[in-house]
Amino acid sequence: MADKNEILAGLAEIVNEETGVETSDVQLEKSFTEDLDIDSISMMTIVVNAEEKFGVTIPDEEVKNLTTVGEAVDFIANAS
């Protein structure tokens, strides 16, 4: 199981690259859409880049359940 802090840092970089949101704003309790203003299509890009970076598979059905950054970090931690 990968370290959650590392996953958060990696995910923050991906979010920053796709959307320009500051990495420091990507915090566990933040909602991707509500707080970080990330649209469904940018979310798809983030998911694909996360799959590549962390060597995990995040199915389309699962993406809908990943509302917050913390949920995404947990999913990646458990899948890797």
Binding site: D39, S40, I41, M44, T45, V48, D60, V63
Partner: protein
Amino acid sequence: MVTLNTRPLQKFSKILGLGTARPDVVVTNDDVCEWIDSSDEWIRTRTGISTRHRADSETSAMDLAIAAARDALQRSAVPPEEIDGVIVSTISHPYATPSLAAKLAHEIGVSPAAAYDISAACAGYCYGVGQADALVRAGAARNVLVVGVEKLSDFIDNSERSISFLLGDGAGAVVVGPSEEAGIGPTVWGSDGSKWETINMTHSLLEVRNRDWISDPVREDEKVWPTLYQDGPTVFRWAAWEMAKVAQQALDEAGVSAEDLGAFVPHQANMRIIDQLVKTLKLPDHVVVGRDIADAGNTSAASVPLAARRLLDEHPELSGRLALQIGFGAGLVYAAQVVVLP
């Protein structure tokens, strides 16, 4: 035993002329929002589409095909009697048989050219160019007319929210003929029928025929006529990332690098897919990218030639330069090749 004669092979083929037809009715995002729960802002930011062009009820897919084919013939300067093949890609010709191609060949005066339709949806134009290239080089036809034509507005339900708002009508056509130099690179093409359901019709015509209309009458808001729907996110993921690999393979097989390209003409499905492809393929800034979708919407088999025609009109210096083109869509199917622009 006698040995059979075969026709002499041609070394190379190229696109000799590219014609188009754009229908007149402009449907805005505000028009769309009369039919579905959406907004101009949502549609622009998620898809890059501001308007789509659609044909009026008097104009058929055949009419659009005839206009584009005549334009391509004229631009290519190939006499009609030297066209030996007509390939039409369409999913919106309203007859299972006979083909749109056979009547088109007659209407534009190229009969008795071999004429047939193919069903490869949004990949159909690039499928057709690949076939035409093979037919010309094999000596099976001197020149081949390839047409991508759609009147998708006949096969959508405007109150449906997954795909209808993206779609427009139109036609594009090219004449492919022999060449002294390679004008069409290897076609990288294929299919993934495991995703057959992801872009499909609501039901088949047999379901319409076999339904017991007495015990199961038409419900309010129900559309009896089969129309298109899709699983947008699944298709987006496939198109934006898997298709970059196909496009890269077309470059590699042609022995061309992104630096060598004058233009990139992807299927006009979604501006965000186009942006992602440009990014993944690392296309340099000097490569002009087809972004006709903003005004024309997604016109399936017609989108690549419509976008290419527009680039040639806006940047005449692209004539003779290399373009990477790729189509992908329902099937799922895909095809890509590098071509020399006419």
